[in-house]
């Protein structure tokens, strides 16, 4: 009934996996219980104010204070505490089957993602996490600079990324779909524009995606795209960005090997197309002030189109 109000790709009350689900259930129970308690207290208050003399005398007895203020809360809170602890225990339990291992590094203001194989990075992407439905995922969370917080509410609670430690978040999607996450610890300037996508796919689609991501960048055959690639490298983009299979191998900024396959750019700020890519390259500070990429406004219109077409082709 309330679903229209609480549904969405970034809603803790529209869960897509068991961790978020059990928290959502806890939430509804607490809302209901809290609502009932609130109503009772307000009714008692109303009674005390409105009902005259003898019929409200019972309410002025000290035992009302003892029962209402001590006995009842002790019973209710004991039950709630046990329930809450049991949910926490379930959520933090080790997953039964071997999880998919991903490491996410928080950066100002984007997400560096490594898919791991045998504990070592197999390939890198950014702001974009694809996972198979039904398999647990183990995310190792760290930061390159300040404290960030990894939060994809439809799937799990949040966990901070703190310098000097690695926090591990386990989650599992039960439902196909695209879930949005956002940084949930103020990390400076463009904190508000630091989001990411989590895409839950069927197993075979996920395998296809992973194989595609592991490959080096597609070498363009079309001359316009080849021009774009040349301009990309000539403009110095490779000193910050990596495109595997080319000479671009910088690690300061996001890996762009398969940037064309992502739903959004600038960490969820803009949809991903040639127009937004062009706007970003030439004036990223206007779109996301304080982000770490300097503007590249020296490219001519045609050159910019070539570069963005090249990037778009990197699927």
């Amino acid at each position: 009934m309330w679903t229209w109000m609480v549904s969405g790709p970034q809603s803790a009350l529209d869960p897509g996996g068991p961790h978020a689900s059990s928290i959502a259930t806890l939430s509804w129970i607490m809302f209901a219980g809290g609502g009932v308690i609130f109503l009772i207290v307000m009714l008692l208050l109303g009674w005390a104010l409105v009902v005259p003399g003898r019929r409200s005398a019972w309410l002025s007895n000290i035992y009302v204070v003892v029962v209402g203020g001590i006995a009842f809360p002790i019973v209710t809170l004991s039950a709630l505490l046990i329930y809450g602890l049991s949910i926490a225990r379930t959520i933090t339990a080790m997953p039964g089957e071997a999880p998919l291992e991903i490491s996410v590094v928080g950066e100002q203001f984007w997400w560096r993602v490594h898919y791991l194989e045998n504990g070592k990075p197999a390939f890198e992407t950014a702001n974009d996490i694809h996972i198979p439905v039904g398999q647990p995922v183990r995310l190792s969370l760290t930061t390159a600079d300040v404290i960030h917080s990894f939060w994809v509410p439809s799937l799990a609670g949040k966990l901070d990324m703190i310098p000097g430690q690695t926090n591990v978040l386990t989650l599992k999607p039960d439902r196909l779909g695209v879930y949005r996450g956002q940084c949930a610890e103020f990390c400076g300037g463009a904190h508000a524009l630091m989001a990411f996508d989590v895409v839950a796919l069927a197993q075979d689609q996920f395998d296809a995606w992973r194989n595609g991501q592991s490959r080096a960048a597609r070498e363009p055959t079309d001359p316009f795209l080849r021009r774009g690639k040349k301009l990309f490298l000539a403009a110095g983009c490779g000193s910050c960005h990596t495109v595997r299979g080319t000479s671009a191998d910088g690690t300061i900024g996001p890996d762009l090997t398969h940037v064309g396959s992502r739903r959004s750019i600038a960490a969820g700020t803009l949809p991903n197309n040639r127009g937004t890519l062009g706007g970003w390259i030439s004036g990223s500070q206007h779109l996301k002030p304080g982000n770490k990429m300097p503007p590249f406004d020296m490219l001519s219109g045609q050159d910019l189109l070539a570069v963005t077409s090249y990037l778009e082709s990197l699927k």
Binding site: G8, V65, I70, G84, A184
Partner: protein
Amino acid sequence: MTDKMQHDPAMPLPNGSPRPEGEFERLKATWEPPRGISFVTVVNNTYVGLFYIGTAFLFFVLAGILAMIMRTQLAAPQGTLVSQETYNQLFTMHGTVMMFLFAVPAVEALGVYLLPNMQAARDLPFPRLSAYAFWAYFFGGLAFFCTIFVGLAPDAGWFIYPPLSSSEYSPGINIDFWLLGIGFIEISAIAGAIEIIVGVLKTRAPGMSLDKMPVYSWAMLVFAGLIVFAFPAIILGTALLELERAFGWPFFIAEKGGSPLLWQHLFWFFGHPEVYIIFLPAAGMVSMIVPTIAQAPLVAYRLVVLAIIATGFISFGVWVHHMFTTGIPQLSLSFFSAASMAVSVPSGIQVFAWIATMASGRVRLTTPALFIIGFLFIFTLGGLTGVMVGMVPFDWQAHDTYFIVAHFHYVLIGGMVFPLFAAFYYWIPQASRTRLSERVGRWVFGLMFAGVNITFFPMHITGLIGMPRRVYTYPAGFGWDALNFVSTLGAFIIAAGVALFIFDLLRRFRAGEGNAGNVWGGGTLEWLPSGNYANRSIPRVTTRYPLWEQPGLADDVAAGRFYLPDNPTGGRETIVTSPLHAEPQYVVQMPGPSWATLLAAFFTAAFFLLLTVKLVTPALACGVIAVAMVLWWLWDTDPGPTHPPVDIGGGIRLPVYATGPVSHAWWAMVVLMLVGGTLFACLLFSYVFLWVTNPSFWPAADALPPIGWPVLAAAFYAASSIAIATASRLLGRGPGRSVAAFNLVLFAAMPLLIAAFTTDLWAHWQTGLRAPKSGYAAAVYMIVGLQGFYTGVLSIMLAYTLARSLTGRLNAVRRSTFDNTMLLWHFGVAQGLAGLAIVTLFPRLVGSG
């Protein structure tokens, strides 16, 4: 004699009437505030209290305006009213100003105003100290607020987590403004806490034993206790962060053996009690207002008192609930979840006690009553969502989202602002010749109540459907748009209510001689007829509601038939009573107004602010002047027994001066030592915490200074304490003593203390250890550095004491100044020895790495 007076109300009154000619005029004249421009030096608690409340309210309005700008920006997605940078400063300042410049000062201000009146004391025990606390807050707070006009306001959130707030990621001086700007607030709060503890425990009306004390006094006692044990954590934290930013001492830098979590622990160990510092006085006020509006005594007084005490204690055990998402192990988190459940029980006790009290009487829906009802509604709702976020898994979703924003605004606005407005409407007739308008008051209430719910209730939903905190804008299409718009509408409704209140306040509030009287029929002592001198005579009370249950009390007090209807020493006096049974012990002579106090406050604020903008020499100059002003202010105090014991009435003869553990000055110093001890404990915690998290930075035994050094330093420390103890004995010898010997021994303590500190410092310096090297090094130098600070302070105190002795103002009887120096000296030495022990023995015991 005194027992009989407690149990036998038929006993004759202490003093006869009519009173002698001119006695009342002399009393009034002594308590007159200064005229002309010197008015600003007034120290009467009523005037200082009103200035204080007014300034706090001003900050409420200013921070509220910041919030209006924020809400307008957020009314629609992709708003463009303010830039990202401005918004980040706005939300940081809104939180910082509300918490530090409005909420705590407001409740402290009400205490300054109300407490002496409610206990029939003529003033707080240290009138100049409360004036100093106010003016430091006034100058410093206004200067701090102005940073937003020049774009230099801090912008990392009100809890400025490192590394974002460290010099690497926040290179400007914005964060330094926060750190040093909050410095004088910390001083104000500690000063206020000392006043209030001593005031509640030592200056009550005779017969007001602890079980008859107003609930508000209990609440303020616990409030002050919370300040004493919680503020040192933030004082230490801000010092550490400033040292890291200015000098590279890496307390919070993980790569160098520090820890960002150390800041969070220190901040929240302060931060959670902080909200109870804000709430408990408000709850105390509610417990005073509810009996009056119901015209019935508070039901379950003992339960309410113990609920306040329990809340205070348990509030120290919940701080990690602000850190549930940091990756701390689940079992540890669960301890804090359990304590968060426990802390809600006492609040429930109070709510039911208030409801029961209202049921036992008949409540007339006056404006104070409406605000109390509003408080119960909003605060209960906020308390329930508080229990929810105390559940760890739920908090993993709700933390850092608008759900939390909703929760804390409900408990803070419900739990503090509504009682504050109730208090305004309730007590303004005591402070002003005209009361506020009931008709306008209903509108103010209606607008504020509706506005708060319309603004903040939707935020519960907004947060859970994904909107995080501290975002200057948000994308369309997630279902956040309409909710944000509604919240913004509500904000304007609140603003309308507050504006209406201000309009009525300006129209009606008239302070000065005379007040509107006991318009609500209150039963406690603040409703006695009063003037600048407080009450004409100080009553003996036998019940919790003296005005209801002691017939003719008001008349007897006003006619001077109770204690001390005059001022026998010719100055400002009140009766100091025992803490348990409030039996009179002595009459305290209190100082009057002085420019020194105001100037000391001004130069203290200037010191901190100049240091922030890195004008070090002018800052130091201002610091020196501030200290000089403080010494000038103190010079009038400690008058000694200038008068033989006085007859206060009823056959009770009291000395006019006291020293030793019975004196208010001794108690104040004990409270100060508790503050210092807590600060030191937090520092030791920091040292051990850094070892637990970064053990590889701890040294091997051969890198430590050879053990001879700390032994030598310890010997110097002990010797300086022995010198002070010897001086104390010499002083106590009375007129036969050798003044010269005393002066010499006293003086000798100073070079011994300085030698101790220097030895300690050199011991580490000569090993090549330097503070910026690692978290370990920084912690060691902080321990040593704190001793340096105490060495400086104690040296100044010793020099001052010596000056008193040399000018004949110190002797066997008149020795308060010496005693206070002695107490803090021994404390400083004990702390020095403890610091030496831990730095010397801990690494040797745990091994390295």
